[in-house]
Symmetry: C2
């Protein structure tokens, strides 16, 4: 017998209560109704809106989205009419009585407190912006952006106070999107980020093109520094943001964008298991440690699809999938959440950064003793479409893979066009356990406007496959300073003169076969060019002629990014 | 012992000869050099260029690409210097002596005839445009476009003859790209296509938005009609194109774009096996029926990855992959060609059409007794990104899948933005044997500019998965005229009044639960809305309340495309 909610014994209608009405909660409610017309569904939302477009808020501040109503994906009325779901706004769920299967709710408009019984309870309370307990943190000009009222307040403040300068604390998704949108409104922006890079999702060398782009668009960056406090200026309006290194920035407005923390107070007070990362612990069916309570979205820890480790991924896509799966399992389905891949994308001015799977940072942290073991990586810098068609923009791609079996572990990409596409294709590859050999043989759309006969995804696969087959040996710039090898630059003399690695010798690819005698047979030779293609040809020719040659992945382009890292 | 070319016994250098120097031949040559520094490689090309950007030619005619040199991906000099490959242009390989392992070559500049021995021979002769033996086919104004000289002649003709009107015969890739590019040059274009649709790669109902877009951009379409002949007009310059249905069009220029035919004369005269479709027959190693001869590119038949049938796919991507695989196997590697998925894309004015895997046309042809068996399909019309962010453009997607196991069989998409991305993701899914359940659970890039928390690929997967799980039953418009079912329109009254299916009754989704009594319990109910989402909700509610409800896939949007098919 299926032990689902609809078919349980007992009197009266079975009740599903849902705490939180945005991505995960709203998805769960709608899905549950599609699974059962019999049960009663009530969704409680503390705020004044359900199912709003969280991810659109920065663009509402930036006046890209001008009508606030556009941010409302669904209204309580729509939930009632379409799905027969009772939505209660401004309703704070204050406590869970697990024995009685009952929640305590406060109507925030009237102050009234009441109780509701449940057969199944879903917690989708989300996460709240982190507000560190710094001196001055409660000054009026310091905002976070998480809700429609938040963004409305920021919009009002910008106009009322005629904001000219803003400081954004945090250089991740929200910080960068807000930097763009405040800049769009003519505000001078400084980003203060504790890590020495923007967008900690990316490995540091991959963030370099993004940082250059953001600076080129007039944003001031203060990386590797932390805010120590805020103080009101003498003019009474603006505030000064001080950093640990001793810098200070004057601002008419501060935006805190240093991340979010799962909202777990309700779950913790009810005695539900909490994970080590501070999220509600659930199983693959999104069920908590209480068999009648499920949890979804930003408040839960999820399993990383690649590493198998618990992780916090506050993104809308996984939240929606989790909501559906909770509804399914509540109604007796055997659905299961496959984990998160951490696929993410962000557009900042004209640049797109995206990633899927694990980063090298994560792989270093988990180490070779983890589930994955050793890893290898490559860099490439192809055009987003063929170069013969006007408008090709370079994409910088980093691919991480297992040298043991070729399995694709992760990818990061930065560029102006076609970045999301390549990461989406690799995301599907990772989902299906694909190897770099599969990327090599992928058959992707090619017309001059879209790609190339060898798409960047193919090229990434080819470079990695060549390494795995032993056709190419790879070297990385970060290892070169420690090496005694001969460094060979195979670019044309003109390119060499424009800048090269100190101590490199220059033998252009076209003359290499005639000049192999100039190279040592007993020493390792590390060949590089502009992006790594010509030096691959060179290293192949050298290896086939008996030299110990390796190709330096990513060429000068990757070198310059690394160099900029060190100097910053 | 590896029986590869490099390690064969015998005197002197081993020789690899390659006939044809564009995509497949050039890839093969470069790859072979990377596999061996010892062998001699000679590439013979009948034309004056190797490795040119065939796919860029229409844009050279349209002055999007203005410098002819941009079309040269590689030159003979580059092949010699980088790869130590001897490239011989204007060299016609006239015969193969398989016993002697020798080819006969004519130097087209000097007329000289000579012979070259080979250890391995690769045929990459390509395909030639079909020129049907119609009356007047040899008139001077009638062109094909396959080479750089072809496009140069067309450019010259346009200027010299001040071309005002052009007829394009054939509405596939080249015909459509040329229609755009000639229109760009101010020329009035008529496309005559024998099939009743443009872009025969697509199923007919999917070509409708493309046809509307092309017409909206000023192109005149003559579909379902064939050219019967050409005649010179009295002015001595323009010609009249007559069709079988009795129409006639005056044109200053005609472009033949009715497809290509594999160049197999050399192979056939050498007695190599030719397939039923008229391409050179090769095995998975790209080896012909002669163990010393390989063939790659547009001249060969390839195995369809999904159906397992032989097919002709004259595309650059597969040609490149085949060239690499031929080189690998010649040099002793165990590489194997996995077949073609027929992934293709074409941009026409502002519209992109793309497809991967099989079409419904192919599935109907192979029938339920084929390798695939039964199939099911769905239509959807999501925005290319969230609607709350400005600029969302609809994509029409058709997904074909196996109802037996959910395996994704093929997909087609039409729209202005993000079309190539969704087809590339589905292409990777097909490559890895993914099911619609995998599409449902895919984790793709989401930021407002790029997609949605539920990406179109997810939605396609969800719709199909709901059918396979039995949660939704699907109906298709083409079956509805034959049905006695109740047709239910669940849109709002205002939408209903703007146009609806004849005989449909209108009960908006929001009032459905109150008005279920108006619906028959003993008859099938087919629900539709604008795109199929609200009617999915409606059909779920009806089914859970005991009605026999189905959802009509794609809603009014798909209905209108089908209706336009019938009326044309």
């Amino acid at each position: 017998m299926k032990r689902d909610m609809e078919n349980k014994e007992g009197d009266g209608k079975q009740r599903l209560l849902i705490v939180g009405g945005v991505a995960g909660g709203a998805s769960c409610a709608a899905r549950a109704r599609r699974m059962s017309e019999k049960i009663e569904i009530i969704m409680f939302e503390r705020g004044r809106y359900v199912s709003f477009a969280n991810c659109g808020l920065p663009y509402y501040v930036g006046n890209v989205i001008t009508d606030e109503r556009d941010l409302l994906v669904a209204t309580p009325n729509l939930f009632r009419r379409r799905f027969n779901i009772d939505v209660r706004l401004q309703s704070d769920v204050r406590a869970i009585d697990r024995q009685k299967q009952e929640i305590e709710v406060q109507n925030l408009q009237t102050g009234e407190i009441y109780h509701e019984k449940y057969n199944a309870l879903v917690l989708a309370p989300g996460a709240s912006p982190i507000r560190p307990p710094l001196p001055g943190i409660d000054l009026p000009a310091i905002y976070s952006i998480r809700t429609i009222p938040d963004s409305r307040q920021i919009r009002d403040w910008i106009i009322e106070r005629d904001v000219k300068q803003a400081v954004i604390v945090g250089g991740g998704f929200i910080g960068l999107e807000m930097a763009e949108n405040l800049t769009r409104r003519g505000i001078s922006v400084t980003i203060i980020e504790m890590m020495p890079q923007l967008m900690p999702l990316l490995d540091p060398e991959m963030a370099v093109p993004l940082q250059e782009h953001v600076i080129a668009n007039g944003v001031n960056l203060c990386l590797g520094d932390a805010v120590s406090g805020f103080s009101r200026n003498n003019d009474g309006n603006s505030i000064t943001v001080s950093t640990k290194s001793g810098k200070s920035y004057s601002a008419d407005m501060v935006l805190l964008a240093i991340g979010v923390r799962p909202e777990i107070s309700l779950a913790r007070e009810a005695g539900l298991e909490i994970g080590k990362l501070g999220g509600i612990r659930v199983n693959h069916q999104m069920r908590t440690s209480d068999e009648h309570i499920w949890a979804v979205g930003d408040a839960v820890e999820a399993c990383d699809f690649v590493t198998g480790e618990w992780t916090l991924i506050p993104l809308a896509g996984p939240a929606n999938r989790q909501g559906r799966i909770a509804a399914d399992t509540i109604l007796g389905r055997n659905s299961s959440f496959r984990g998160v891949q951490a696929t993410a994308v962000c557009k900042v001015f004209n640049m797109t950064v995206a990633a899927t799977g694990v980063s090298e940072r994560t792989l270093r942290r988990t180490g070779s003793t983890g589930k994955i073991g050793e890893y290898e990586k490559i860099y490439l810098h192809p055009g987003h479409h063929v170069n013969y068609y006007p408008g090709a923009k370079p994409i910088t791609i980093k691919l991480l893979f297992s040298p043991a079996n070729g399995r694709v572990l992760g990818a990061q990409a930065v560029g102006e066009e076609g970045v999301d596409k390549r990461i989406d294709v690799i995301s599907m590859a990772i989902q299906k356990g694909a190897t770099v050999f599969d990327l090599e043989e992928a058959e992707l759309c090619y017309a001059p406007q879209f790609g190339a006969a060898k798409d960047p995804v193919n090229i990434a696969g080819m470079i990695a496959s060549n390494i795995l087959r032993g056709d190419a040996a790879v070297a990385h710039w970060e290892d070169i300073d420690r090496t005694q090898s001969t460094i060979l630059d195979v670019r044309e003399p003109g390119e060499f003169l424009m800048g090269h690695y100190d101590g490199a010798i220059n033998i252009p690819l076209g003359t290499l076969r005639d000049r192999m005698g100039d190279l040592p047979r007993d020493k390792e030779i590390l060949a590089y060019c502009s992006v790594g293609q010509r030096s691959y040809y060179a290293s192949r020719a050298l290896r086939l002629n008996g030299f110990k040659a390796k190709n330096v992945s990513g060429g000068m382009t990757t070198y310059l990014a690394r160099k900029s890292l060190k100097s910053s």
